[in-house]
């Protein structure tokens, strides 16, 4: 294996990993607050179209990213109002959000079909970003570095800040947190909005970096992998990074298997690998710890204070 091949592989893997890492980090925070939002896929698509649209309108990819975050967060607020104010079933509402986000993004995308924006690529000088070797460090979109910075940031926020501690408390025992005097709804709104924004940025990676154009359902189910990844990582940010790259490698294998024309296994097998591994990982985790390990105790349950 040549050095060029390895560098190309790493660049591919990083590209494939970044969107699921971003979306999963967001969902991690949401779930730590005790809310299960299955609408990640829908929020990613909303982020993809809003980011693309904002870039087309402003010619500024940074505003595009802002638009993507806003698009994801706004769509997540729809879920938040239903789940937090009306105590609707979180699983059903999350699925509805995915369907809604898929549909609405397609509708919004009609007017953007055929547009192409410049790739939101590396902001480092070309001497670094295009260097055949150094590009493995400097050759990525700012979104990639943002995702990598967010891993320790989220871990630090949850573990070491008072706000993070309150967020975990709300996810662990909402009634106690309420009785002590913390705003359970307020914390959950904020967490859901953060999750939406992160999923939106993850989605925008598709429309602004990978293929700098809009296509319907372009996130191709990555939102579901992000959801599985949170469980796979046992609700820990550090493991989330490892898990995201594991899935990234599996997805890269599919591409290379296709390109190299491996005939001993059909490419569909490689395509199915991440999903298969999700099932395997979830089974292993559930066998190892029947209580669900590190899962927040209030995950997915409606908050119904008595007073």
């Amino acid at each position: 294996m040549s050095t060029e091949f390895i560098i190309a592989a790493i660049v591919t893997i990083v590209g494939l990993t970044t969107p699921i890492l971003l979306a999963a980090l967001g969902e991690l925070v949401v779930e730590k607050a005790g809310v299960l939002n299955l609408g990640v896929e829908g929020m990613m698509l909303m982020g993809a179209i809003c980011g693309f649209g904002a870039t087309v309108s402003t010619f500024n990819p940074w505003l595009g990213i802002l638009g993507a975050a806003a698009g994801g967060a706004l769509s997540s607020m729809l879920f938040a109002v239903l789940v937090l104010e009306l105590n609707s079933n979180q699983v059903a509402t999350g699925l509805a959000l995915t369907i809604f986000g898929t549909g609405l993004s397609s509708l919004m995308g009609l007017s953007y079909t055929g547009f192409i924006v410049p790739v939101f690529g590396s902001i480092f000088p070309a001497s670094l970003a295009s260097d055949p070797y150094l590009k493995v460090i400097f050759g990525y979109s700012p979104i990639v570095y943002f995702a990598l910075i967010m891993v320790p940031a989220v871990a630090w926020f949850l573990k070491s800040t008072r706000a993070g501690m309150i967020l975990r408390a709300v996810g662990e025992n909402d009634l106690s947190a309420h009785s002590i005097g913390y705003s359970v709804k307020g914390v959950r709104y904020a967490a859901i909005a953060f999750g939406g924004a992160m999923a939106g940025i993850g989605g925008a990676y598709f429309s602004m970096v990978i293929t700098p154009m809009w296509a319907e359902k372009m996130t191709a189910g990555r939102g579901w992998i992000a959801l599985a990844l949170v469980v796979f990582a046992g609700w820990r940010a550090g493991r989330l990074l490892v898990g995201a790259y594991f899935f990234g490698i599996l997805m890269a294998l599919e591409l290379y298997a296709k390109a190299a024309g491996f005939s001993f296994l059909p490419s569909q097998f490689w395509a199915a690998m991440p999903y298969l591994m999700t099932i395997v990982a979830l089974s292993v985790i559930s066998i190892r710890d029947r209580s669900g390990g590190n899962a927040p105790a209030c995950l997915g349950k409606p908050f119904l204070p008595s007073t």
Binding site: R162, M165, I166, R168, A169, E172, N173, S176, I180, Y182
Partner: protein, 520 residues
């Protein structure tokens, strides 16, 4: 005494009304600095309502609260804490997956940096000998250790008054003793303590003054060291308690239920294992099992009902038939019925109708299932019979179990089992949280069932209940059952000692303890 101007806390004619109930009726008493003041009364006497008003969770409808001589309104718990009132609840509101330190930090009104807080926690812990590891996860702690978190949390605020709501109901005797040492030290430093309990021996051992409530009214304020347990119990229960009518000439017959060296490993890290449980219940006999909560009562009920199976088929026999390996369904067919402690979710499904709930335990004995289909008519008829026979206040067999009050649901559940005429009935906490009228009805039904020749096992933490109801009594402690004794010649002191873990062999008891407290 009630008019002393410098009382730490003074209540004057406090009244609180709930729809249909007068929870507190003109209650007045005062607590001095450094005094340990007991608030004594049965379930539903109004103790909890009273302290909730002191702690600002509820507001009184009438009367006034004075704090150091000044009239105050406690708007909410935060205001109470600001005044210097701390409270340790019966049921802890802890965050299981978080550390001790985080739990304490979450409960503090002021934002204190983690390092400073940890130093202050350590200071409080050494001062009062409360051992806790700040970085342990709460779910790995025993109940006693969890209570210590709540106490430390309260002590960090330097309270002038500490309210303890039934603090010992979940503690082992050793933990109770440790708690008392802390409370005495606090009192000696001038902190007042309002101690809620219905355990007379504890109040005699700990408290300087006792205020007794009954039916929301203050009955008496007395000095527990002068009173006897009996005199306080009479004030607490009142003279008008219905006596149980036992049939004339009732005789116990031949041996029915024989439990012989029943062993059961603990179900979880903090569960209690059963060790060589041995007892015999005869026809027509009511056998009581006393003990402090968490000493293996639940494990024993599950082992007898068939929810957990023993390896030894002969450990449980009824009329000579070996039941140890039989499932709950098979045991019911063999005539063993049981009523667990938890009404909602264990004894009954709250979302099901009363008729459907009757199918759950009576389907086989009363033939409510035909060709795999539920005979709804039979279920409704039976449920209706139970409702009318046991005077259950419900709209009918179609009411959901969850819509009934605790006492009515308990009557229904007891009736559902009793009307199947079980050969053996095992009940846990038959009158827990049940009003006096329903409790008397349940007791009478048990006595009547025994008179018809059934063998009955009553597991209860309420010693008075057992003494009035049972023929024979044994005490469970750390999963070990004491020898049985006739209630007629039972010695209260001895029962108290057995409940506190002083068996014939003290060394064995001492060795048992570490298994329970630190299984992790």
């Amino acid at each position: 005494m009630a008019n002393e101007p410098m009382a730490r806390l003074e209540l004057k004619s406090i009244t609180k009304r709930f729809p249909g109930v007068l929870a507190n009726d003109q209650v007045s008493f005062s607590v001095q600095p450094g005094e340990i003041h007991a608030l004594l009364g049965e379930n539903g006497a109004g103790k909890s309502t009273l302290v909730k008003m002191i702690y600002g969770i509820m507001q009184p409808d009438g009367g006034e609260i004075r704090w150091n001589g000044e009239r105050i309104v406690v708007a909410n718990p935060k205001a109470a804490r600001k005044l210097g009132i701390g409270m340790v609840f019966q049921h802890f509101s802890l965050f299981e997956a978080m550390t001790v330190l985080e739990n304490i930090a979450l409960g503090m009104d002021a934002k204190i940096p983690a390092r400073e807080l940890e130093a202050r926690i350590k200071e409080v812990m050494t001062q009062y000998g409360l051992k806790l590891e700040p970085h342990r996860i709460v779910s790995t702690l025993s109940v006693g250790e969890r209570q210590r978190i709540e106490i430390v949390r309260a002590l960090l605020l330097n309270p002038k008054l500490l309210i303890m709501d039934e603090p010992t109901s979940v503690l082992t005797p050793q933990e109770v003793e440790q708690l008392f040492v802390v409370l005495r030290q606090l009192a000696s430093e001038g902190c007042s303590i309002l101690y809620i309990s219905h355990k007379l021996h504890e109040i005699k051992a700990l408290c300087h003054t006792a205020t007794i409530l009954r039916g929301g009214k203050l009955v008496d304020t007395c000095n527990p060291s002068v009173e006897t347990s009996r005199s306080m119990a009479e004030k607490m229960i009142g003279g008008n308690l219905k006596t149980i009518e036992k049939a004339e000439g009732r005789k116990v017959g031949r041996e029915k239920l024989i439990v012989n060296r029943l062993n059961m490993p603990a179900r979880s890290h903090f569960g209690v294992s059963l060790k060589d449980i041995t007892f015999t219940v005869r026809e027509g006999e009511i056998f009581g099992i006393a003990g402090v909560a968490g000493n293996g009562q639940n494990a024993l009920l599950l082992a007898l009902s068939g929810e957990t199976l023993t390896d030894d088929p002969g450990a449980i026999t009824v009329d000579g038939a070996q039941l140890g390996r039989l499932t709950a369904k098979q045991r019911r067919l063999a005539g063993v019925s049981s009523v667990p402690e938890e009404r909602n979710g264990h004894a009954a499904v709250p979302e099901f109708t009363l008729a459907d709930n009757s199918v759950l335990t009576a389907r086989d004995r009363l033939g409510m299932v035909k060709a795999g289909l539920i005979d709804h008519k039979a279920a409704r008829t039976y449920a209706g019979e139970v409702i009318s026979t046991f005077a259950v206040k419900a709209l009918g067999p179609g009411s959901t179990a969850g819509s009934l009050s605790g006492g009515n649901l308990q009557k229904y559940i007891m009736g559902r089992e009793i009307m199947q005429n079980p050969a053996v009935l095992v009940v846990s906490q038959p009158t827990w949280g049940v009003d006096a009228g329903a409790a008397a009805a349940i007791h009478q039904a048990l006595v009547d069932l025994a008179a018809s020749g059934s063998a009955i096992v009553v597991i209860s933490q309420d010693l008075d209940e057992l003494l009035s109801l049972c023929d024979t009594l044994a005490v469970i402690n750390e999963g070990r059952l004491s020898p049985a004794m006739k209630v007629a010649d039972a010695d209260i002191e001895e029962i108290g000692l057995l409940m506190g873990g002083v068996h014939g062999d003290p060394a064995a008891t001492a060795n048992l303890h570490p298994e329970v407290a630190h299984a992790h």
